[in-house]
């Protein structure tokens, strides 16, 4: 009791946060009941009729559901295959650079896209890849090739999406690996030198194994986010011509839910995503701990 009294002011400081998280996190969680309702904007949440599992049945019956799930998984899978190894490779290369200036300059340049909004990055991607006036197609023409409709062709759009994600995140992602490399005991490298190991051998036998725990944890966490996808990148890069591959769960919820007012159906879609995501993150955390590392919690 004495403790509570002594620190009453600290508890008062926490009041705004409690209110904030209840209003903007827990009430929306409660708002998931919309998924079980035939939501009517005018009758409100409690006035609307219960719909049971009708929204979920409808979700599985619409063809878009298959499509947006496939697109979300595909883009995330490509992200895992391409965006995940990129910072590791870059960090290994940066670590081999002896010129401090080159290292510093290229780090500064590589971090830059991380600080730009997806609207800016998307605008730049569209401008650079434009079939007529974009510089990339200009270079292709100089090389005697035909121009490519990067943003209007489905395959190229997926490739562009993935590579622009690399562009945005690879440099920034090196920080955590470079930190892990810094923590490696230099004695290991000396021992390797005495053993006659060359530079490549040292990377393979010292550096990589030493940062492996970091790689494993980040990989597991990335797998944990397979079904969730942010909205800013897909929304900034999508266009109507490639909507067959560019429509993902988040953009669908926005387009059909907010724009067309299908609250019940899209809440159900969002809920399925949130629940699967929670399961994956919990499972990922479990595996991260079992892999001998620290989990998220």
């Amino acid at each position: 009791m004495k403790e509570w009294k002594k620190n009453y002011d600290l508890y008062l400081l926490l009041v705004p946060a409690v209110v904030f998280f209840i209003v903007f996190a827990y009430i929306p969680m409660g708002g998931l009941v919309i998924a079980f309702k035939d939501y009517n904007l005018f009758r409100g949440l409690w006035g609307s009729d219960w719909a049971g599992l009708a929204n979920f049945r409808e979700m599985f019956s619409i063809p878009e559901f298959f499509r947006i799930t496939r697109n979300t998984l595909l883009l995330n899978l490509l992200g895992l295959l391409v965006c995940f190894p990129a910072p590791i490779l870059l960090a290994l290369m940066l670590n081999e650079v002896r010129s401090r200036y080159l290292k510093k300059i290229s780090q500064s340049m590589l971090y830059l896209p991380h600080f730009m909004s997806w609207i800016v990055l998307g605008g730049i991607v569209y401008a650079v890849l434009s079939p007529k006036y974009g510089v990339v197609n200009q270079i292709l023409r100089w090389l005697g090739m035909k121009e490519i409709y990067f943003m209007a062709d489905q395959t190229w759009w997926v490739i562009t999406y993935t590579l622009s994600a690399v562009w945005q995140s690879a440099g920034w992602g090196t920080i955590i690996y470079l930190a892990a490399i810094t923590a490696i005991d230099p004695a290991l490298y000396e021992a390797a030198s005495i053993g006659g190991a060359g530079r490549i051998r040292k990377i393979a036998s010292v550096t990589l194994p030493s940062i492996m725990p970091t790689i494993v944890i980040l990989f597991i966490l990335a797998v944990g986010h397979m079904v969730s996808i942010g909205i800013e990148q897909p929304l900034a890069l999508a266009n109507s011509v490639v909507s067959d591959v560019s429509e993902v769960i988040s953009t669908y919820v926005y387009r059909v839910g907010i724009k067309q007012g299908e609250f019940g159906l899209t809440t159900a879609v969002g809920m399925v995503q949130s629940v699967i995501n929670l399961c994956l993150v919990v499972a990922a955390n479990h595996f991260a701990k079992r892999a001998g590392g620290e989990g998220l919690w």
């Binding site: 002011d9 002896r98 401008a127 060359g198 919820v253 907010i258």
Partner: protein, 326 residues
């Protein structure tokens, strides 16, 4: 860079007891004589790594340079594909046009307001939440941490949050872009770890002298946390500056559009052209738009570039601290 200096100091301490024959695996500090010798294999290896890194860095930077060049190039130069890294047939017309457009300037002011007010409120509420949680002697701290971490793992999603914002009558106000993101659980945890690095003895000594919790927070903790406040503040500020989906979701009023949302409206118009270019005839309009579009992008980016050196310094530190748990 953090890693650079750290690895250098590590190598110099390791090589402190001079090893004349040992070939150092770590980069040699600048003060020491240059490296002993490189085998031909190493020369090839270095060349490969250096050139790969330079190429990658260049590819990373190239789109920005090209956009900057386009913003200051004539439409004929863009049309004939002459613009690569620097402006061709230099002109400032597009830039003038953008800066003369009152709606762009208005959206710039909205974003500046949002960034300043939003970041201030973010910092205030993050501090008052993180400080009590950094106190190991606070009972019930674990319960609150769990209460907060749950919100990082599970959320109601876009629609229920939208309805909450709507029912609070925040739609079409700038508060809709500030209040729903007022406290980031992630940043609270980072700031809490910062606060926990301040030795507890300091507080004990202050309490001896009759210093209360609030006074201790304001007089001792905050002045000691300058770097961490800057880091978290920059996290929030860049978030405010770059966020666009909030404005797309909550704001219809054209007078309240943020810079990024305004940029999106301008780009969407021309994106349509880009994807449908194969069907449309070549129009002079699109070409002028290319340069205009580049100019808007430049306007939206320059403020970030100005604070970039600070960003880099603090953000690198901050993102390292994110991995420190407490």
């Amino acid at each position: 860079m953090v890693s650079g200096t750290a690895s250098n100091s590590a190598s110099s301490s390791a090589s402190g007891e001079a090893k004349p024959t040992g070939e150092l695996a770590r980069p040699a500090p600048a003060t020491r004589p240059r490296r002993l010798k490189r085998t031909p294999g190493e020369v090839v290896f270095d060349t490969l790594v250096y050139s790969a890194l330079i190429v990658f860095t260049f590819i990373c930077l190239f789109p920005f340079l090209n956009t900057l060049a386009n913003a200051f190039s004539s439409s004929t130069a863009i049309q004939t594909g002459k613009v690569l890294l620097w402006p061709v047939e230099f002109q400032v017309g597009s830039m003038k046009m953008i800066l003369a457009d009152s709606s762009v300037i208005r959206s710039l002011l909205v974003t500046v307001f949002l960034t300043v007010v939003g970041t201030t409120l973010n910092l205030l509420f993050t501090i008052i939440t993180a400080y009590p949680l950094s106190r190991r002697d606070l009972k019930g701290r674990g319960i609150f941490m769990r209460f907060m971490v749950i919100t990082m793992l599970f959320s109601g999603g876009m629609i229920p949050l939208f309805l909450v914002v709507k029912s609070l009558h925040l739609l079409n106000t700038l508060w809709a872009l500030i209040i729903p993101g007022l406290i980031s659980a992630f940043n609270v945890i980072i700031m809490k770890s910062f606060f926990q690095t301040i030795p507890d003895e300091l507080r004990e000594a202050s309490v001896m002298d009759g210093c209360g919790n609030m006074r201790y927070l304001i007089r001792i903790v905050l002045p000691l946390s300058g770097a961490s406040l800057a880091t978290i503040g920059l996290f929030y500020a860049v978030g405010h500056w770059n966020a666009y989906f909030g404005a797309v979701l909550y704001i219809d009023n054209p007078d309240l559009l943020t810079l990024q949302a305004k940029l999106r409206n301008i780009l969407l118009l021309s994106q349509m052209d880009t994807s449908l270019e194969q069907m449309t005839m070549e129009s002079k309009f699109t070409v002028i738009q290319e340069s205009l579009k580049a100019a808007v992008i430049v306007v939206a980016t320059v403020p970030i570039l100005i604070v970039y050196p600070f960003l880099q310094k603090y953000f690198v530190k901050g993102s390292m601290l994110g991995s420190v748990k407490g």
